[in-house]
């Protein structure tokens, strides 16, 4: 059976499916942010002194920083004192098997269509589920453990593998990197930790599902992935959020450390609540994602499908330090109604013969604004560096905007940097061709857009590709006619 067929089978969803709230009593911090709150978070999580100090240091750095305003997005200023920085679902004991997990949580997963049981049984994907900042279930640990792979919640890693966390935390995204990264460093609640030992190929896709739950709870996940020499892992991150009116801040940090001859693939399907048709509500997704190809021949590939959030500010980047290392960025960003996305990547070529490839597909509909912002930086040492960038924008209607901001800095003459950009509209004749075959207009648009994004979707693992296609269709609903 071809991939196309299977994808089509799944191609059915309507309406925003993930809009509800599950009532799990939160164990939360009072609103606001100060050193006491940070101590509260750290104490709640029974953290060692060094981590508390690290957080406090980050808080002090953050306090002196200014919110950045260079992105092509506008939103009401965030009152950082009006946010709850810690909230955990109540759980009496750490569960060992799914039977011990809060049935209401399991219900939530079922609604999301990602029931852990099913995931476990059918797909062989190990899932580290994060609801409201605290990991509640981790599976497949034993199997991974046999290979020496560590895949657990961040808090657990702090307890079980402090030396690794201490060594790599902040090594790719330093505390002072940017405003939101500093904030995250101060208050991060939980997230995932993944360690692949030397020479090990992780036999399954590792995936994390995030979900915002309690009202007014900022989400500050922290993810750290370390791939030792000659190892491989494919990591999936996906998220959905319930409908609500208040804007919610989401400022995650993802750090990836790739050593010599290792390869990491990081895929994201992002579907935070985008706000309603009039631009009310929705998530502010202000994320810092960066990886370093530290060793020679290291490989890092980012693939993202961004359909959600009211505001997206996100630039997954690669520092290509090792000689012959390579970085890839494949992105689909779809915006509709009043969504704003400013997303792209940075490829920093430091080592010799480093290669990078950027494929960005922006689709804008409604009154949305969709910007690609990318930087290719070739440093002096990077003899023989190569970059290819392809940035395409597709416009639907004439009230939306697509913008491209490519920055290219070259300090080594032997490098080769290519940039191609196109802007197009969905053709009336393409839609008519579809409707003439009996396909309704909405499905026609979904079909055409999915085709347009194919090159990126092809990078995703199968089950993610299916979900991504659904999301594209969902996001563009009502954008024609």
């Amino acid at each position: 059976m071809s991939k196309d067929d299977q994808i089509l089978e799944e191609f059915t969803s309507k309406e925003y499916e993930h809009g509800w709230t599950v009532d799990i009593d939160s164990d939360q911090a009072p609103k606001g942010l100060n050193e006491d709150i940070i101590r509260f978070i750290s104490a709640k999580k029974e953290e060692p002194q060094w981590l508390l100090d690290w957080r406090l240091d980050a808080f002090r750095v953050w306090s002196k920083m200014q919110e950045p305003h260079w992105a092509n997005v506008t939103f009401p200023s965030i009152n950082y004192q009006d946010i709850i920085y810690y909230s955990a679902p109540k759980q009496k004991v750490q569960s060992k098997s799914l039977d011990e997990v809060d049935p209401e949580l399991l219900e939530t997963f079922k609604k999301l269509g990602i029931s852990l049981e099913e995931q476990k049984r059918l797909t062989g994907v190990a899932v580290d589920a994060v609801i409201d900042s605290v990991s509640v279930a981790t599976t497949f640990k034993d199997k991974l453990g046999e290979l020496g792979i560590i895949f657990c919640s961040f808090s657990e890693a702090v307890k079980e593998h402090p030396e690794l966390v201490k060594k790599y935390l902040g090594s790719v995204v330093p505390v002072s990197d940017n405003y939101y990264a500093a904030l995250n460093s101060a208050v991060f609640s939980d997230g995932s930790f993944c360690y692949i030992p030397k020479g090990v190929r992780c036999p399954m896709e590792l995936s994390t599902y995030f979900r915002i739950n309690a009202a007014n709870t900022g989400q500050f996940e922290r993810t750290l992935i370390v791939a030792e020499d000659n190892s491989y892992v494919s990591y999936l991150e996906g998220c959905t959020a319930p409908m609500r009116d208040e804007n919610q801040l989401h400022a995650a940090v993802v750090e990836i450390y790739v050593k010599a001859d290792a390869e990491v693939k990081y895929s994201t399907v992002q579907n935070w609540y985008p706000g309603d048709k009039n631009g009310k509500g929705g998530i502010y997704n202000l994320v810092t994602k960066r990886g370093i190809c530290a060793g020679n021949n290291a490989k890092l590939s980012w693939t993202q499908v961004e359909t959600g959030s009211a505001v997206t500010w996100k630039y997954p980047s690669c520092i290509l330090k090792g000689d012959n290392s390579s970085g890839e960025f494949y992105s689909v960003a779809v915006t509709n109604n009043y969504q704003q996305a400013d997303t792209g990547t940075k490829m920093i070529h430091i080592g010799r013969n480093t290669k990078s490839r950027i494929v960005s597909k922006g689709v804008s509909a409604g009154y949305s604004q969709n910007s690609y912002r990318g930087q290719v930086y070739v440093m002096k040492r990077a003899t023989g560096a190569r970059n290819f960038s392809q940035c395409d924008s597709l416009l639907m209607g004439n009230k939306c905007g697509a913008h491209t901001f490519p920055y290219i800095d070259i300090e080594n003459k032997s490098s080769m940097v290519e940039h191609e950009a196109t802007t197009s509209k969905i053709g009336e004749d393409q839609i008519f061709y579809c409707t003439q075959r009996g396909i309704d207009e909405e499905s026609a648009v979904a079909l055409i857009v999915n085709g347009y994004c194919k090159e990126v979707l092809n990078q995703l693992p199968m089950e993610f590709a299916v979900e991504a296609q659904k999301l594209l269709a969902l996001t563009l609903e009502g954008s024609v006619g």
């Binding site: 061709y433 003439q436 075959r437 079909l447 085709g451």
Partner: protein, 253 residues
């Protein structure tokens, strides 16, 4: 099956169809010929429901329903198929994917069960044989980089898949080599049934040797100015359009 009465249509205030009258019964094959720019493709587009064209006067009735009131997709689902003169490209969408979406929407409308991937494939293989089309072509992006002939053959494949009641083939023969022409014509003939009809738009008598029409109409300046049987096509092939134009211009003058 199809009754067109005094149909007028314009685009961007330019009047193109000036009173078309045409009746097509089940089982019939009608050929429409006429000089370039006479309005053949326009007529086909208007029947298929292309929104750029404005119908300014007249009616079209399809199987007892007001065709002009229906959306393009509903016309297709009710059984109107247009093989485009210039099929558009849809990058990243394979013909297979495209047809699966289309066929299931059409089947749903017709009250038939939708096909799962396996039965779809079986069904598709059957139709592929009919028009001798290769699966590798169907896996590629729709019409992207297809040769002229491949595009036309793909149109007929889609027609076979959707099992229409009324097929309108707009210059499906142009760009086909002799062998392909025979294959396509053969496909069309095999798909012919007592209860479906075909309108063939063509410039060449050659096609009509294979798809034998019951009637031949000549379109000129947005009107059908002459109708006859297949001998008319032979006459046109021999004499060209000048005599028809003169006749028509004389009557309108």
């Amino acid at each position: 099956m199809l009754k067109i009465n005094n149909l007028h249509a314009s685009i961007e205030d330019k009047q193109i169809l000036n009173g078309i009258n045409l009746k097509v019964k089940p089982g019939e094959v009608h050929a429409i010929m006429g000089p370039n720019g006479s309005g053949k493709s326009t007529l086909a587009s208007v029947l298929a429901g292309r929104e750029d064209y404005e119908v300014t006067e007249g009616q079209a009735d399809f199987q007892g329903e007001d065709l002009l009131e229906m959306s393009p997709e509903d016309r297709a689902r009710a059984g109107v198929f247009l093989a485009f003169q210039y099929p558009v490209e849809i990058p990243g969408v394979s013909t297979i994917n495209f047809m699966k979406t289309a066929l299931n929407q059409v089947r749903e409308f017709r009250g038939q069960e939708t096909l799962d991937a396996v039965s779809f494939l079986t069904f598709m293989k059957e139709k592929m044989k009919l028009v001798e089309i290769d699966q590798s072509l169907l896996s590629r992006s729709l019409n992207e980089g297809f040769s002229g002939g491949e595009k036309k053959r793909n149109e007929i494949f889609q027609m076979a898949m959707l099992e229409p009641k009324l097929s309108i083939l707009d210059e499906t023969d142009s760009g086909l080599d002799i062998d392909a022409l025979k294959i396509v014509a053969n496909g069309v003939n095999k798909l012919k049934k007592k209860d479906n009809a075909t309108i063939v738009v063509t410039h060449y008598q050659r096609l009509l040797d294979y798809i034998v029409p019951d009637y031949v109409h000549v379109l000129y300046n947005g009107r059908i100015v002459k109708s006859g049987t297949k001998e008319l096509a032979q006459e046109l092939e021999a004499k060209g359009y000048d005599w028809i134009k003169e006749e028509a211009d004389a009557t309108t003058a």
